[in-house]
């Protein structure tokens, strides 16, 4: 049978796709988190036996890529990594043609990391297999938000009444956007903190219950969770703010951390830069949940993949 290269009709994403947190219902999120708690990375479960998961990565990644790969293999799947360099993407093949090719090779799901916002949505509209967004430009990083929620719930009883401060470059951050959507769905009070270049006033319109603050002391005071974001030095280049000023004003230091609740946890999607967005003491301190997050990435992504192929029992 001849297969059409692709359908021109815009379709709904295939069942099991995970494109973002924004349009997920809270019960779907809770379902995924419940499933993640049942996943044990140390014990192989063949939920994905004979399934082919393609990791299509247009951007470099350590954490996300390796944890998706380990998650898929732990569930018995066959995985293939396709990267921009060393593939036909380098020769100018479009995203949709690459997707159609991978589908024809026999992919059962595609995990996509892409530098352009909305790339997973485009792919999902033209493919009949699930597409999982592993980070798209400045838009969303849903698996990160889910593993962060998973991590928070390991330390806190529930989302109820929690106060979260997110400090850093919100504007460029897909992690921040997904986290804001997820946490506000459960009524968490989220304060976004940073200079106007990184936290424009419009950021507060992203979801209900968001607040913008220019003072980390104000944002941190009484917080249950402090999420830091990586500051990309190259992004400071075009901005008015100087690196030294940023550090002086926004760095999470032990004294600023003291303003938070005593049992507050410090989170960071990584990679961290010691001495920039946080001090080494804070990163290695007893309240740091940074390596926890990395660890929780695997069961969370196992849950996402199991949901993608419909094995949620």
């Amino acid at each position: 049978m001849m297969q059409r290269l692709r359908s021109y009709a815009m379709n709904k994403p295939a069942r099991g796709s995970l494109l973002g947190i924004e349009h997920l219902e809270s019960k779907e999120i809770l379902g995924l988190l419940k499933l993640a708690r049942r996943m044990n990375p140390l014990r192989a479960r063949p939920l994905l036996r004979n399934k082919r998961i393609v990791l299509l990565f247009y951007e470099p990644s350590t954490r996300t890529r390796s944890s998706f790969e380990i998650a898929a293999k732990t569930l018995g799947a066959i995985t293939t990594l396709v990267q921009a360099s060393g593939s036909s993407i380098e020769k100018g093949e479009s995203l949709l043609d690459t997707g159609a090719t991978l589908r024809a090779v026999g992919a059962d799901a595609i995990v996509l990391r892409h530098p352009r916002a909305g790339a997973p949505h485009l792919l999902a509209k033209h493919l009949d297999i699930p597409v999982i967004n592993a980070g798209d430009g400045m838009h969303e990083h849903p698996s990160q938000a889910l593993l962060d929620a998973f991590t928070i719930l390991k330390h806190k009883k529930s989302f109820k009444g929690l106060q979260v401060a997110i400090i850093g470059d919100i504007y460029h951050s897909r992690v921040a956007r997904s986290a804001c959507h997820l946490l506000t769905k459960f009524g968490v009070k989220v304060t976004l903190c940073g200079p106007p270049e990184f936290v424009p006033e419009v950021a507060a319109t992203l979801a209900p219950g968001l607040r913008v603050s220019r003072h980390p002391e104000e944002a941190v005071r009484g917080a249950d969770v402090i999420m830091l974001l990586r500051l990309q030095k190259e992004r400071l280049a075009g901005q008015k703010i100087r690196l030294q000023d940023y550090i002086a004003h926004y760095q999470l230091t032990p004294s600023r951390l003291k303003l938070a609740k005593r049992d507050a946890i410090v989170m960071h999607p990584g990679p961290i830069i010691r001495g920039l967005e946080l001090t080494g003491e804070v990163a290695d301190g007893p309240q740091s949940a940074i390596l926890d997050e990395v660890h929780n990435g695997v069961p969370t992504r196992m849950a996402i993949l199991a949901r993608a192929v419909g094995k949620t029992k």
Partner: protein
């Protein structure tokens, strides 16, 4: 110019409601077209003598032929998107009898030879084609083109559309040379230093989607500067293309007030597109590239200001910015997708549905925005009105006809429209160019 190959016969348009704002006609009238001109316009049944053809226009509006000041017909060089033949066929279906073509083709239309080439009957145009030539060589913004030669060849205006002239000295020089020749300088107002890598309007939607946004000020600041420069050059003519923001309108109003000031003699005109008076930035939805164009869809307050300016006379013309693109240029990541949408076949329907039905702008004003307004902006002589001896360009439409636009049935070679499947009230019934019917609805 006309593109009519054989000599047209005479047509008597009977029983229609003529709306001709330039001639201040708004009444039931009969119109006789003969030898590609308007031979007579008179009260019903007052025209004596026969005609080769009678057109029953009972219940229909008979208007001067519509003029679109801003279309991209993609020739020379990009005939996979559109050709002059296909683009003008779409224009005819949309009720346009004249279109002004933008020079950002491959190569750029920056010589009199290319202007002549565009107007050559060999191109197969079915409506009048008025080329707008490049203002600078290859639209690089460095050296002015030969405005006089371009005008002699038939160019009706100059522009570097898509590549705004940001250099003050070059813009002033263009306005000066334009003033000498009475040639409008058309500016796509965008401070590109503020819009690098941007793909939509800056606001809550761009933040939510993680897309870099074009600030409204990037348009307003250039319009403001251009108005100031124009007011410094005697009898200069500035035309602001596809105006999209509230602040840019303020600058245009400032420029127009100059008209009543004896010392300021410049003429500032502007156009607005149907998509900017219809849609908002939030309509981009989940990265729908058929809602990506430049200038981008703006905020609700910008659209509100545009609606006011359309009604109060600040806006001179509705222009489509018809910008066809092939499927493979649109079915890509949003940030990589080409800017622009088609618009020729939906412009009147949108004006009637949105401006007339929804916002109660009178039909006379809407017709003015398609006829007398654009004709004046670019000095298209003997067009834009149905007075005797003018060119026999006529648009006949049914303001009450309900219909659904299907992109698949478009006469354009491209399908990049946000209005596929849209329901409209008001439809073109016939388009007459130089006394010849070039489009007739089934």
């Amino acid at each position: 110019m006309t593109n009519v190959k054989s000599k047209p016969g005479s047509i008597l348009i009977k029983g229609g409601h003529v709306i001709d704002p330039a001639a201040k006609i708004n009444a039931l009238m009969d119109v006789l077209l003969r030898d590609s001109r308007v031979a007579e316009i008179a009260l019903p049944n007052k025209i004596r003598g026969g005609a080769d053809e009678k057109f029953d226009a009972c219940g229909l509006i008979v208007a001067p032929g519509f003029i679109d000041l801003h279309v991209h017909l993609r020739e020379p060089g990009q005939s996979y998107k559109e050709t002059i033949a296909s683009g003008t066929a779409a224009a005819a279906a949309g009720g346009f009898t004249s279109v002004c073509t933008m020079p950002n083709t491959a190569p750029v239309v920056d010589t009199d030879e290319w202007v002549g080439w565009l107007r050559d009957p060999e191109r197969g145009a079915v409506v009048n084609v008025f080329p707008i030539a490049a203002a600078t060589r290859s639209s690089r913004g460095a050296t002015l083109t030969d405005f006089a030669a371009l005008q002699r060849a038939g160019a009706v205006a100059v522009t570097d559309d898509g590549k705004p002239i940001l250099d003050d000295e070059i813009m002033r020089a263009a306005l000066r040379l334009g003033a000498e020749l009475n040639l409008p300088v058309v500016q796509h107002a965008e401070d590109t230093r503020l819009t690098e890598r941007c793909s939509m309007h800056e606001g809550p939607t761009s933040f939510r989607l993680g897309l870099r946004g074009m600030p409204a000020s990037a348009e307003a600041s250039v319009v403001d500067r251009d108005v100031t420069l124009a007011q410094q050059v005697r009898e200069s003519r500035l035309h602001v293309a596809h105006l999209s923001t509230s602040d840019a309108l303020k600058a245009v109003r400032r420029g127009k007030r100059g008209l009543h000031n004896a010392r300021v003699t410049c003429r500032v005109t502007c156009e607005v597109t149907p998509h900017h008076f219809t849609l908002l930035d939030e309509d981009v939805g989940e990265y729908n590239t058929n809602f990506k164009m430049n200038p981008p869809l703006r905020s609700a307050s910008d659209r509100e200001a545009i609606l006011v300016a359309l009604a109060d006379g600040t806006v001179d013309a509705i222009a489509t910015d018809h910008a066809p693109h092939a499927m493979h240029e649109k079915e890509v990541e949003f940030e990589r997708a080409a800017f622009g949408i088609t618009g020729l076949e939906t412009a009147l329907a949108l004006a009637l549905t949105k401006l007339h039905r929804e916002h109660k702008i009178p039909l006379t004003r809407i017709v003015e925005l398609f006829t007398a307004g654009p004709a004046r902006a670019f000095d298209l002589r003997e067009r834009g009105s149905l007075v005797r001896d003018n060119f026999a360009d006529v648009t006949i439409f049914d303001p009450k006809k309900r219909w659904t636009f299907e992109a698949a049935g478009s006469r354009s070679l491209s399908r990049n429209t946000p209005f596929d499947g849209s329901q409209f009230t008001g439809k073109v019934v016939a388009t007459i160019v130089g006394g010849k019917i070039v489009y007739r609805a089934d």
